[in-house]
């Protein structure tokens, strides 16, 4: 259908629209009009993606704005967005004609997801595909191949290069799959084609990293115009993504690998000195003039940009002491040696970048300036030495990554060295972490570069905290609730067992056998009353292991298995995938199953337990971060000092958003229904409860607070029976949950009359 929002014609590919979708569009349009950033919370299952796409593409049709840059967390989400866009585009074509609706929309991902080379694409990891491709496409390889037909190159790349500027993608909507088929058909490399086509596209869909991680965004997203509209979808963890983009961990094996890398590099340098000393000399001269102008590098050689933010990159000549290849290698050797020494420590050390630099300078006379240039210097060297197996040189890259970051930033970072994991003090596992403490650092360039940045998710509560964490001023921030024809959400807060004793995962209570038993009884009662799938989330792996063991000893697990099969998430991805598969099968065939999972784990973030795959989710405890973690403590301190965010506030916020994320897994559409049990007495407190997203809070009736196991069982039974009844999905009168074009027109008329 087609309707107007404050004068803007919006094309929406369905006959009905939810009221909250309409509201969302209104707010979004205002933000775009104001050329500002916005923060919008709308529950999953309300069609957020189509709402965004529909408004923004309609806006693009009517206004001279730049492209829509849509960032997702996973490839799967990316494909969903593009599929949705395809449907929208078909509708627009129908409404306004093929020519007027013409767009180019495409997805971009790493080579691993885009490569069509018969051998390379079969490589297992992202790094190996990258390296495999580089071996075939590096400029010197291709030059050599001209004379020597035995040297392999990639035909897709060659064909694409041959076409030059004529290698264009016709307008349309392309998922990764479409890109690959198109590439195969034409014989062009889809990856490089996509990278090239980004500048002409109206809609680009890719991963967060392509904007937030300077290493990638420096290459991919460099040439985007200011008028772009950037969307971060499912952005409730965006602060963590930002932080990770600027953090580096160095372990024992990193250092060993780096040493090996350096040995190899030295060998190659010797070889070159003997055969082609000119090359090294040329590089030296180039470095005197300043670092290689990236834009001039052949596209295939240019594979990782500087890890620091674009504004902080120095545009000067490389310092003299690392210009010569062998000097630079020696420099790196000293650095690696120094870090090795630091890792030998037996106590935890924590310091700021400044003091780290000081001692580094004192002990090995390595200065900050040279450190800053490490990463670019290394890239230059690897290119000069014509090294293609980049996946083997990851270790030394990490070291240079670290060096450049530490040399560039003195604020907002901490260096923490831990000789072992606190939770396993007997196993030495030293690690040096350069941890970014300030999420606003990585995202600042995005806010500055682009006119409108939209941050949206199903859980952004409390919504006023995000602007502080990310240090920006949204022109609009708003939380929408879901209109429902029936109460298909049933959140409950369970504070005690049937014996009236309180339950909690609070540190002093969690191993209390009474609490463990009460938690077990809760599960047992529920698996007997809830059909098909039940999901349980625990606060951590170690807690989950512990409690499952205890339940096993108490015989509770055996009883649970009389009703449902039990599956467990492990840290092994393959194992977990298998477990999930079998879990789904058990739900499908009527056997019923329970899935034990961990908050903040892969499953909690990315797997949906909608429909019969999750009729109930139990959140055991509040998933606070491991508060003894030094990184967390450094971050808390930083947040307090810089942004005046109280420790407790941040921790609770973070824990509750994870919990909301976990329980939100069961509702993915309005036709769905599910129950959520927050099993911890602390949830009953206002400070915790009030941080839950609005769409949960509105369903959290007083009668569902402070429950015991038997009370919640009663509620559950009634709820399930009620939900099994047929219902009127459209809603009636004031309760309408679907608006048609006619409804919207009526609304508009009324508004006009009032105005």
């Amino acid at each position: 259908m087609k309707f107007k929002i404050e004068g803007l014609t919006v094309y929406f590919p369905y006959e009905f629209i939810y009221p909250e979708q309409y509201q969302y569009m209104v707010e979004l349009k205002r933000a775009l009009d104001a050329k500002g950033h916005c923060l919008l919370e709308m529950p999953t299952g309300t069609g957020k993606t189509i709402t965004l796409l529909s408004l923004i593409t309609s806006y693009q049709l009517a206004n001279p704005v730049g492209k829509l840059v849509y960032c997702t967390r996973t490839v799967h989400e990316m494909e969903k967005v593009l599929d949705e866009l395809r449907r929208l585009h078909a509708y627009q074509e129908k409404e306004i004609g093929k020519e007027a609706a013409k767009i180019l929309a495409l997805g971009l991902s790493s080579r691993k997801n885009m490569c069509v080379h018969p051998e390379i694409s079969g490589e297992g990891s992202r790094e190996s595909v990258d390296a495999g491709c580089r071996k075939l496409t590096a400029s010197w390889v291709r030059i050599a191949a001209v004379d020597n037909p035995n040297i392999k190159t990639c035909d897709f790349f060659e064909n694409y290069e041959k076409k030059g500027a004529d290698a264009l993608l016709p307008p349309g909507v392309y998922t990764l799959h479409d890109m690959r088929s198109f590439g195969r058909e034409k014989g062009w490399c889809p990856y490089f084609l996509a990278r090239h086509m980004i500048q002409f596209a109206n809609v680009v869909v890719y991963n967060y990293q392509y904007l937030l991680d300077p290493k990638v965004s420096g290459i991919i997203s460099r040439e985007m115009e200011k008028e772009c509209i950037v969307v971060f979808d499912e952005a409730h963890n965006i602060d963590n993504v930002c932080i990770e983009a600027l953090s580096v961990n160095i372990r024992q094996q990193t250092l060993e690998g780096a040493t090996r890398n350096l040995g190899k590099i030295s060998q190659v340098i010797e070889k070159f000195k003997a055969t082609d000393a000119n090359r090294l000399r040329e590089e030296y001269n180039r470095l005197v003039e300043g670092l290689a102008q990236r834009g001039n590098l052949p596209v295939a050689d240019n594979w990782l940009a500087n890890p620091v933010l674009p504004d902080d990159i120095l545009r000067e000549a490389v310092p003299g002491n690392i210009r010569r290849a062998e000097h630079f290698v020696a420099f790196l050797k000293r650095l690696v040696q120094y870090i090795k020494g630091r890792l030998l420590t037996e106590v935890v050390e924590s310091e700021g970048p400044l003091s780290f630099l000081n001692s580094l300078n004192k002990e090995c006379s390595i200065d900050q300036k040279a450190l800053k240039f490490c990463y670019d210097r290394l890239q230059s060297l690897l290119t000069t030495l014509e090294i293609t197996d980049t996946d083997e040189f990851l270790y030394i890259q990490s070291i240079c990554d670290f060096a450049t970051l530490v040399g560039t930033y003195q604020r907002g970072f901490a260096i923490i060295i831990e000789p072992y994991d606190d939770r396993m003090p007997n196993i030495p596992d030293p690690v040096l972490q350069l941890s970014c403490l300030d999420a606003s650092l990585a995202i600042r360039p995005v806010f500055e570069r682009f006119q409108s940045v939209v941050i949206t998710s199903g859980t952004l509560s409390p919504i006023d905290l995000y602007p502080r964490l990310l240090n920006f001023n949204p022109v609009i921030f708003k939380s929408f609730t879901m209109t429902l024809t029936r109460d298909c959400l049933c959140p409950m807060i369970l504070t005690r067992g049937s014996d009236q004793l309180p339950v909690s995962t609070k540190f002093d209570m969690r191993s209390d056998p009474g609490v463990v038993r009460n938690y077990g009884r809760l599960l047992l009662e529920m698996v007997a009353a809830v059909p098909d799938g039940v999901v349980c989330f625990f606060v951590s792996y170690s807690y989950m292991d512990g409690i499952i063991n205890s339940w096993n000893e108490m015989g509770i697990l055996q009883e649970v298995m009389q009703h449902k099969l039990v599956f467990i998430e492990t840290q092994d991805v393959v194992e977990t995938t298998l477990a999930l598969d079998n879990y789904r099968r058990a739900c499908d065939c009527g056997r019923g199953a329970v899935f034990f999972s961990v908050a903040r784990g892969k499953v909690a973030e990315g797997i949906d337990f909608d429909r019969h795959y999750g009729r109930l989710v139990i959140m055991y405890g509040i998933p606070f971060q491991y508060t003894l973690s030094r990184i967390l403590r450094a971050r808390l301190e930083y947040l307090r000092e810089t942004f005046q965010i109280k420790e407790g506030d941040f921790l609770t916020f973070d824990a509750v958003r994870q919990a909301a994320q976990c329980v939100g897994r069961v509702i993915r559409s309005k036709a769905d229904y599910g129950m959520m049990i927050f099993a911890d007495k602390r949830y009953n407190r206002h400070d915790k409860r009030s941080k839950l997203p609005g769409w949960i809070q509105t369903h959290l009736r007083d009668a569902h607070l402070n429950l015991s196991t038997d009370m919640s069982l009663h509620i559950a039974r009634e709820f399930l029976r009620k939900m099994a009844q047929p219902y009127d999905k459209k809603g009636q009168g004031t309760n309408a949950t679907l608006l048609s074009q006619a409804d919207l027109e009526k609304m508009e008329q009324m508004e006009n009359m009032q105005a």
Binding site: Y14, E15, F16, G45, T46, G47, T49, I50, K80, D83, E84, C488, A528, A529, V530, P531, D532, H563, K564, C587, D588, C589, G590, R591, G592, D608, D610, R611, H612, R615, R668, S669, K670, A671, D672, Y673, R717, L720, R721, K722, M723, A724, Q725, P726, Y727, D728, K729, K730, L738
Partner: protein, 411 residues
């Protein structure tokens, strides 16, 4: 499309095979749209929640439900072969229904068996129970209500797991051998929330579909995906009971004959016998009880064996034995009284309906716009235009199967 597809269940998007494949590609919420569209056509015959307090509302709902079970005039299978499956697994011991789920099921089945033979005198019924993961046939497909009820009453205990697969496999074994004009059905009263099956239940469901067996489930606790799938694929109805009375209503909804399945709907001839009532005082060896009985009973016109009750199959020669009233009663499913339509009481203020102050059926006063004294709905027969009260509507459509207004029209 029969009224059975009326989305009695909120999980419509779980559709069948192909639809599910596509479903995966669809955005979850967008499925909601798809459903909503399908809903439009269905508002007429879907039943609402059963919690209404308002008399008028309640009456409307009853009518809507009834209309749903009747649907438009369609071909119906009046010769049915139905297995009623009672789940007597561990879950049936729960006491959330009074006296227990098992007790409630037994009561409902008893009522159902009687109602069933009343409405389908030419049909057959058998009982199956599930206990300890095993399905057992309690009574064979037959036409004698008392025998079924007796067998059920003697078998009330529950334990172990439930298995839908075992139950439908067993039922299919018996049903697949019945003549093709018969309408094959399985009605499962399911207490448990899971099913522990020996093999892949999807295979069994596919087999049922192939054998044209319509499987319906009445759940006692919550919606279960596999039951939903089973009903969807085989064209049955899935419903879940909220209370004892609701349970009974849901079970009894299966008493009127369902619409005939297209493939098996070819007209076919059935050989039937109309036995004579035996003279009082004659002594004969009864074929069904295998003992000597005095007087009464009926004599098979083909082999002269004596049977006690009608309708039944002759125990000796297998002829279907019915009485002519039975046949006549089955007829109403083929020529139903048209559904009455509700008349808005408000229209009356325009003075149009002054004459029709009383119900044509029972001569009780009908609700009017002015008086709030009489609650309820006012209904009109579309053929004879007479007005009726709610009670008469129920009586005419569910028992009498004749409209007094139409009957007294001058031909």
């Amino acid at each position: 499309m029969g009224p059975e597809e009326d989305g009695t269940n909120p999980m419509d998007e779980d559709g069948d095979g192909d639809a599910e494949e596509q479903g995966r590609d669809m955005e979850a919420w967008e499925k909601a749209y798809a459903e909503d569209r399908s809903w439009e056509a269905l508002t007429e015959d879907a039943s609402g929640l059963l919690l209404a307090v308002d008399v008028t509302q309640q009456q409307r709902q009853h009518r809507r439900r009834f209309a749903a079970s009747k649907g438009p005039r369609i071909q119906r299978g009046i010769i049915r072969y139905v297995f009623v499956v009672c789940d007597f697994s561990r879950a049936a011991a729960e006491a959330d229904f009074k006296p227990s789920r098992m007790g409630a099921v037994a009561n409902c089945v008893e009522a159902f068996v009687r109602e069933f033979f009343d409405q389908n005198p030419l049909s057959h019924l058998g009982l199956i129970t599930i206990r300890n993961g095993v399905a057992r046939r309690l009574t064979d497909l037959s036409g004698s209500p008392e025998a079924h009820i007796r067998a059920l009453r003697a078998n009330l205990e529950c334990s172990g797991d439930a298995s839908i697969q075992n139950a439908i496999d067993l039922a299919r074994g018996y049903l697949s051998s019945i003549p093709s004009y018969g309408h094959r059905e399985v009605v499962i009263l399911y207490s448990a929330l899971s099913t522990c099956d020996p093999g892949d239940i999807m295979d069994s469901i596919a087999e049922c579909k192939k054998a044209n067996i319509r499987c319906s489930v009445v759940g006692l606790s919550a919606e279960i995906y596999i039951c939903k799938t089973l009903c969807d694929k085989t064209g049955g109805v899935y419903s879940v009971a909220i209370s004892e009375s609701h349970l009974k209503e849901l079970v009894l909804e299966h008493a009127p004959p369902p619409p005939a399945v297209a493939e098996s709907a070819v007209a076919s001839l059935v050989r039937m016998g109309f036995p004579q009532r035996g003279a009082e005082g004659t002594v004969a060896l009864c074929a069904c009880h295998r003992e000597v009985k005095l007087g009464g009973g009926y004599t098979c016109p083909r082999c002269k064996a004596r049977v006690c009750e009608l309708p039944t199959e002759c125990h000796i020669c297998g002829l279907t034995l019915v009485s002519s009233p039975h046949l006549a009663r089955s007829y109403h499913h083929l020529f139903p009284v048209p559904g009455f339509e509700e008349v808005s009481v408000q229209l009356q203020s325009m003075g149009k309906f002054d004459v029709l102050r009383l119900c044509y059926g029972c001569q009780q006063e009908l609700p009017t716009a002015g008086s709030k004294a009489i609650a309820g709905v006012r209904l009109e027969c579309p053929r004879c235009k007479q007005h009726f009260c709610f009670d008469c509507d129920v009586y005419i459509h569910e028992s009498l199967h004749n409209c007094p207004g139409c009957e007294s029209l001058v031909k």
